[in-house]
């Protein structure tokens, strides 16, 4: 299949099922990009994810990066439009109906009911990304150290990323 068409289909589908925010669709994105289409290895995917985390802005800036990696500028445009377009259209249409449905009991039932699924999907993201990234004891130690630090202190995520990169350069990851 044409790579651009494949990118468009993948990210349109992911756009519409990304309930609970961007991190829930990360494993499916990795599965499509790495295992179905063999556009890159899982290590490369994790590296792109890390680059996107180091940049400012919304979650999931890994999407344009994947598109660019696969098919250059046109890949970037196709994947961005496919990822951000459909969910934006849904938002635009839902905005009109929101006044009516936000007070309905089913809205709260559905929203709270989806929390366990969101939680499971984000856990799956953490597993998939760590599996590809923490290939040595040193790198696993960096990942676990960052996780514990983020849970127990209030340091900025960017500081944690910088610390990880510094420890990597110092050779801890080998």
């Amino acid at each position: 299949m044409n790579a651009l068409l494949a990118l468009a289909l993948i990210f349109t589908e992911l756009s519409l099922i990304a309930f609970g925010g961007g991190n829930t669709i990360l494993p499916e994105m990795q599965r499509r990009v790495v295992e179905v289409h063999h556009w890159m290895t899982s290590q490369e995917f994790s590296a792109l994810f890390a680059l996107a985390q180091a940049a400012p802005g919304p979650n999931l800036m890994v999407v344009p990066l994947v598109g660019w990696h696969v098919a250059g500028l046109s890949g970037l445009l196709v994947s961005s439009v496919a990822k951000f377009g459909p969910s934006s259209l849904v938002t635009a249409f839902a905005l009109r109906a929101w006044e009516r449905f936000k007070e309905r009991p089913w809205r709260r039932i559905v929203q709270t009911g989806l929390v366990p699924v969101t939680s499971g999907l984000v856990a799956a993201s953490a597993i998939v990304i760590n599996e590809a990234t923490a290939r040595t004891w040193g790198l696993a130690a960096i990942a676990i150290g960052v996780a514990i630090t983020m849970l127990t202190t209030r340091i900025h995520p960017l500081v944690a990323l910088a610390a990880g990169a510094t420890l990597g350069v110092m050779g801890l990851g080998i």
Partner: protein
Amino acid sequence: MTFSAFSIPSSQTSPPSIGELFRGFLMLGLTGFGGVLPLARRMMVEDRGWLSGEEFTDLLGLCQFLPGGNIINMSVAVGLKFRGPVGALASILGLIAAPTAIVIVLGIVYDRYQDDPVLRHLFAGLAAAAAGLLISTAVKIAWPLRRRPLALVIAGLCAVAIAILKLPLLPTMLVFAPISILATWRLNA
């Protein structure tokens, strides 16, 4: 305030122009390292007075309910509210323009220098730290469920289906979402 999402904000007399929407979200995209949401509230509610605190919370509720990133949806909703479809387009483009350019520059650097040993170690450490951030996010999301065994079981099965069994997301969600909603609703799990 039941009609808050559509009323004109009391804190500002004239709604933001298309240029102001673009610039506001551009700044947000440029400065929002590691989570844009707190900054988004400060920009829209406190600094620029586009929305009242209640209106912001109300719109955030909608954006969290719908698929897609919260802040992406928020930019669309706010742009649409003030300036229609063109406003929505200006807002979302403003939000993703700078981060897209930055990730591409980082991607080019990575592609070009990934064989350099120092940079390879740097990127490996960076990726490990990013993976660690994801662990902490997963724990934070799971934490409120800690006293709800059935919710934890559903979350666990969902994680195993996706991460270990590598099942496709769409059918997995079609199975787990109704179970999860029913269990939370009927069994108060």
